[in-house]
Symmetry: C2
Subunit: 430 residues, 2 copies
């Protein structure tokens, strides 16, 4: 449940999508790493907040207690700490596992690919953070998914908001995960959860509400920097100062048109410490389709300066910022688009079918195809002793093989091959 | 335990190796499929004989009982049956899981990649089987791993041997797995296991010994076809007839020089029903190295005509033959070779570093690198406001970046960029 096989046409489409994403990561100078699907259970413990219950655990069959990785970020942090690496730009494309309620039509699975790009190291503020947003912008533009918006916020600003609204620090994280629902449910429901479930006072919730419903650009940042309450809060001031710097860099990249500073963005995970962001598609391409696929967020990420230190025996910190591309949701869109357009995805790359028009010519086919393979040419033949020529040509048409190399008795005698263009039916002897 | 992280240089080397294998699979017209790492436990039950105890099971956290896939063959058979596919040529490159005793220096891990190519469908005998052997031959030749030998046998011949030696059918499979050890331990030890553990009579074991120590080519096949006992056995006769046909096709492919018909080859898995084969490297390239990596088999496979039927509610059979490339062992060899040669594997593909020689030029770098990225050029820059030029050029040399695009105050004024060839130190303004 919640997993799926990819048949050839889907696997081919997905390979192309992953290749486009990896091309962008490489363009930004990232190196690939690979880590096991299995992690020690203790590695994953305490990293995912309320979502920890969704971790798949392996049966205790003796030896170490294991679990399946929940994302690629925690294994990356574990890898950095284990190898004492303090500076690295890496990408990782691999499957992760979550015992979530699957919603397959929306592209939500229990086994799914993540495509992560992260920058680890102590650098001048906001330069790597800006690059992560540039990457999201490049990938979503390259894939031509339609209009999109990248929402940006900072955990320090949110925490500053909570502080000036009188929330005790012990409730920051849990309040964060309630605020994060503002893109799915109305403010009144969020407020009810804050008061009813999280135990905030209605007044405190209302004060939070005044802030977290704000969104804008540089103007909003400037306004909040002047806000009498927020400007008194050290964390919020730091966050707002960095947000201003970030917008400066994004302006140089020429991408602020698709960026929104949005105080309702909170992101669920515990480990974020600074900038956070999330990209959403603004509308479906196929608005005329009766039930457009609702896809939600297609990329997300942020800064997590404390995670690596959790794996270091001496607690040495390595600041990190990274982005994860929601490849499964994008894949759902591309798949639906391919279906709607009736476009046929070729699942193989075969260039030529080695065919015979008469019987008793299997040996000739085997010899010729062997020569083609050895010359690096992608070739197929029928696994029958005496196939009919018509069936062989039909197979080319069905599977999109452009050429047929035909050896008949005459060709054998003359020492030639008849090469047929399947679409035009033109033939040359060579 | 038994798993590992791949750091960037290893990941880059492995990606190149996998690409070479996949290129061969595509050359033979195979399509990719992808199946989940998780399978239902019941899917894996009863498919792996004595090795079943090595299957990783997931904890029962409610819902279905799951396990990690043990190979890619059983999931492929499950996929064919589930989708009622009777004809398919597919490849699959993915990780599989075995709770085995790891032997990391020999390339044996608990999590490792498999690269499988399989042909499913009812065809004329031995044509797809011959293609599988051709593929092994092509891949091992392409990778230049040194001399190799592909051992071939047929389960029907082995079963025929067991029958004419007086072994009850109930003991065929277990006797098979003992015979399979003949490449690692001497005949006397194999015999002792047959008699002591498997309960065969010493005389029967000796009769088996006379057959399973034979190996050769077409001459041996002919001789056994005349063998007074074996020629009376229907299964053996069928197997030998097909083996003769196989050698005919392999002769047309021109690869019999590296093929040996070897009656000691048995292969451990339950599901084989016909031709079986295994490729071994004959010697290590670096014989002068003090402790050459012992790698054993680097590819194996065979025919399994009954497996798909086990997943079909009506037991409908789909004959299959396939090959699995032992990529981890090959990777161990290539890695050791790269180390020995001191060859440096570049882990990134960055073409140009955007650099500045003076302070206060971060904005210029951000603008230029953004243009380069948008033009599809692989570019990096330092995440510092004012890095030293020497450090920037040193980084290019260390990581193999061939070009530096330098913007200084003069270049900004003139509206040009200084492009420096890192190796030759030549510079052009453009």
């Amino acid at each position: 449940q919640g997993t799926r096989d990819h048949p050839p046409d889907q696997a081919a489409l997905r390979d192309r999508l992953l290749a486009a994403v990896v091309a962008c990561f490489k363009r930004h100078g990232a190196a690939a790493i690979d880590t096991p699907v299995l992690e020690l259970r203790e590695t994953l413990t305490g990293k995912y907040g309320e979502e920890a219950k969704l971790i798949y655990e392996l049966q205790d069959q003796g030896g170490e207690l294991l679990a399946l990785r929940y994302d690629l970020t925690v294994p990356f942090a574990r890898y950095l700490a284990m190898n004492k690496i303090t500076n690295m730009k890496r990408y990782h494309v691999a499957k992760v596992y979550r015992r979530d309620n699957p919603a397959m039509t929306r592209g939500r699975y229990r086994e799914f690919y993540q495509c992560d790009f992260d920058i680890a190291g102590q650098f001048d503020p906001m330069i790597p953070d800006a690059e992560c947003l540039k990457i999201v912008h490049e990938i979503l533009s390259d894939l031509q998914l339609g209009d999109f918006l990248i929402k940006v916020n900072d955990r320090r600003i949110l925490n500053g908001v909570f502080a000036v609204c009188g929330i005790p620090e012990s409730k920051f994280i849990t309040t964060c995960s309630t605020v994060d629902k503002l893109d799915k449910i109305p403010w009144q429901d969020v407020k009810n959860e804050m008061v009813g479930e999280k135990g905030l006072s209605p007044e405190a919730a209302d004060r939070i509400g005044e802030y977290v419903q704000l969104h804008g650009g540089l103007d909003l940042i400037e306004r909040l920097l002047q806000d009498p309450k927020l400007s008194q809060n050290k964390l919020a001031k730091e966050g707002l100062g960095d947000m201003k710097l970030l917008f400066e860099y994004l302006t140089l990249f020429g991408i602020t048109g698709k960026i929104s500073f949005d105080l309702s963005l909170a992101r669920g995970l515990d480990y974020y410490t600074g900038v956070i962001f999330e990209a959403v598609l603004l509308q479906q391409e196929n608005d005329h389709v009766e039930e457009p696929v609702s896809v939600g967020s297609v990329a997300g990420g942020g800064r997590y300066d404390g995670l690596v230190g959790m794996f270091d025996p001496k607690g040495r910190k390595v600041p990190c910022v990274g982005v994860s591309i929601g490849i499964e949701r994008i894949f759902s869109i591309l798949e639906q688009r391919a279906k709607a357009s009736g476009e046929k995805v070729r699942a193989t790359e075969t260039e030529v079918l080695v065919a015979t028009p008469q019987k008793q010519l299997l040996a000739a086919r085997l010899k010729l195809i062997s020569e083609l393979w050895d010359a690096g040419i992608k070739a197929e033949m029928f696994y029958k002793k005496d196939p009919k020529l018509l069936k062989q040509l039909q197979y080319c048409e069905d599977t999109g093989i452009p050429l047929a190399a035909i050896v008949g008795e005459q060709e054998l005698t003359d020492g030639v091959v008849k090469l047929r263009d399947v679409a035009t039916r033109e033939e040359v002897r060579m």
